[in-house]
């Protein structure tokens, strides 16, 4: 009996370790770009075959629970602020002096016409906590030796994707490629990380390109212009009072 137990343990050990490892790798990759806190300037460019538009924003974050985004360009959107606290989201519209509570059904909408959803930017779901992770191989991406990791949603997680595949560099934990699949297993979006640079005291991919697979010539480029990691931000920073004062 004992023998069988040890045999079983021996057989399953690598899987247990692998499972543990995979989650740890995703967590490290996620922590690299998120930090405990971050504050920075992002530029988002929506590219379509015959036009493109740019949005510039300042972003403050603390874990996945607290987010604040201030739009600084274009002129029409300038001054708008989004606040996320846990499950709730508000939008401050300074031109009409109005605080609007945003219902969750708006979260899955594209963010200002881009290929990112509100959810992608405001991290409603967490790639660390809402998925089960499994290493399914090793591949080289852009010259970096990467773990290929499969993410499947946990039973009750409120997530959009049916499956995610992630390529994370083994040494540096760069998220170099992510593939998003729907419930039927069709590849919907591909995200590529590039422009690996030192910024905010870390070396990380500073350019993310989101490509919807079914639309040729469409993509959204998210560029990190400036970032500071792990500078303490009190929870009270993420408040409606502060939303009105950001600039």
């Amino acid at each position: 009996m004992r023998k069988i137990f040890f045999l079983l343990l021996f057989v399953f050990m690598p899987f247990l370790l692998f499972g543990q490892n995979a989650t740890e790798i995703v967590r490290k990759a996620n922590d690299l770009v998120m930090g405990k806190t971050s504050q920075g300037i992002n530029k988002m460019k929506v590219v379509r075959p015959d036009w493109s538009r740019e949005v510039t924003m300042k972003v403050w974050s603390k874990g996945t629970d607290y987010y604040m985004i201030l739009i600084t360009a274009p002129a029409r959107e300038k001054g708008q602020v989004f606040l996320k606290r846990k499950n709730e989201l508000w939008n401050w519209m300074p031109s009409i002096g109005r605080m609007i509570k945003i219902p969750p059904s708006m979260m899955m909408q594209s963010w200002m016409g881009s290929d990112f959803t509100n959810d992608d930017l405001l991290k409603e779901s967490s790639i660390v906590n809402d998925y089960v992770h499994k290493i399914i191989g090793s591949e080289v991406v852009d010259g970096y030796d990467c773990y290929k990791i499969e993410l499947t949603p946990k039973p009750n997680a409120a997530v959009v994707w049916g499956k995610i595949l992630m390529w994370v560099s083994k040494k540096e934990y760069y998220e170099l490629k992510i593939e998003f699949y729907d419930e039927t297993g069709a590849l919907i979006n591909m995200q590529l990380g590039s422009e690996i640079k030192k910024m905010g005291g870390r070396t990380l991919p500073t350019k993310l390109i989101m490509i919807p697979m079914d639309k040729k010539g469409n993509k959204t480029i998210l560029e990190l212009i400036d970032v500071v990691f792990d500078k303490p931000i009190p929870n009270s920073f993420f408040s409606q009072q502060n939303m009105k004062r950001l600039r």
């Binding site: 002129a75 001054g79 219902p103 059904s105 708006m106 400036d226 408040s239």
Partner: protein, 395 residues
Amino acid sequence: MRIKIVLLFITVFTLSAKAQLSPFDYGGYAKYLFSSTRFPGTTERYSDHLIHLRLNTKWYATDALTAALELRFRGYYGETVENTKHFIDLIKTPRDWVNLDAVLWNKKKTVGYLEVDRFWLDWVKNDFELTLGRQRIAWGTALVWNPTDLFNPLNVLDFDYEELPAVDAVRAQYYTGPVTKVDLAFKPAREKRNVILAGLWSINAFDYDFNLIAGMRDERWIFGGSWAGDILTGGFRGEVTVSEAPNRDYTNLVYEALGESSLSSFDKPLVAVALSGDYTFPGSFYIHTELLYNNNGKTKNTFLFYKEATSLGMLSAARWSIYQEFSYDITPLTRGSLFGIFNPDDKSYVIVPFVTYSVATNWDLLLIAQIFEGDPLTEFGEFGTSFYLRLKYSF
């Protein structure tokens, strides 16, 4: 080690240098609006042109003190101007305290009007905020009708005034938490009847925002509450107000001839309820329904009570109003919308289809129609049909 410190110093220094923001900020837009209107009972269409300019300026005097000045200019030219008696009175913003506006010209076919639309000073100390001047105090949670917006009720059909009206007031806010506050505001006026004093207390629980309000408006007590949250991920909001019975001995010859009693003579407390629900489907299709109920609202001859309703702080003279909207992003640059407001009692309605198109960065095109239908003297029967085309440049 030393090198690291030096590097760190340089990093911090450059970051803080980047963080230096100008104490002045400005923005605004220039719009050109073409309109073509046909009033009921007439055969000709009137064509009009409007140049609408806005300049917003802000001065961040210190960390605690901010000042804002926003100017709005409208220059009209056209046939409605020519054929409407005292056209200027229709576009002038009535103020109860100081005007801060100027009629730059007033000719047969053209009018130019400049006004100070916002002008406030804001002072913050810890959780306390004091705002003085022409400002917008928006307490409502619903998206079309806001009975709890006691200070600056708005007109949903005035699509060309995106900023919505402001009010001259003193406002003190104390933030009791990250998303909750106590808000007190006072609007002085030359006429006692136009003075408003009111407070709001907001809390957040079960992922809902709740507000309670109490105040004095139109020399009558008013109490109310509102909420904003979601049901099955769709937005769910509502507002309720109850105000003292106006009980005023008022009538006029028209009311008497029609056998109607005035809204002001209503001898029971006034109740207004707004309910709002919306849902965004994957793929950007958006649906929004809103209801407004006034217990003293009229079920016929509603058109005649419009002005009186406004003076009582009612958002409509009708007993029931139903708003329905559908929107869809035809492309990321083009949004198509259709909304209607229906009066179920007199069967009159307005239907507003519109399309917005982002021509280029900062350039937006709007095509909109307002189709009013109804019998004479119904809520929407007297306004005809208008088509508009607008080009907007934002800076």
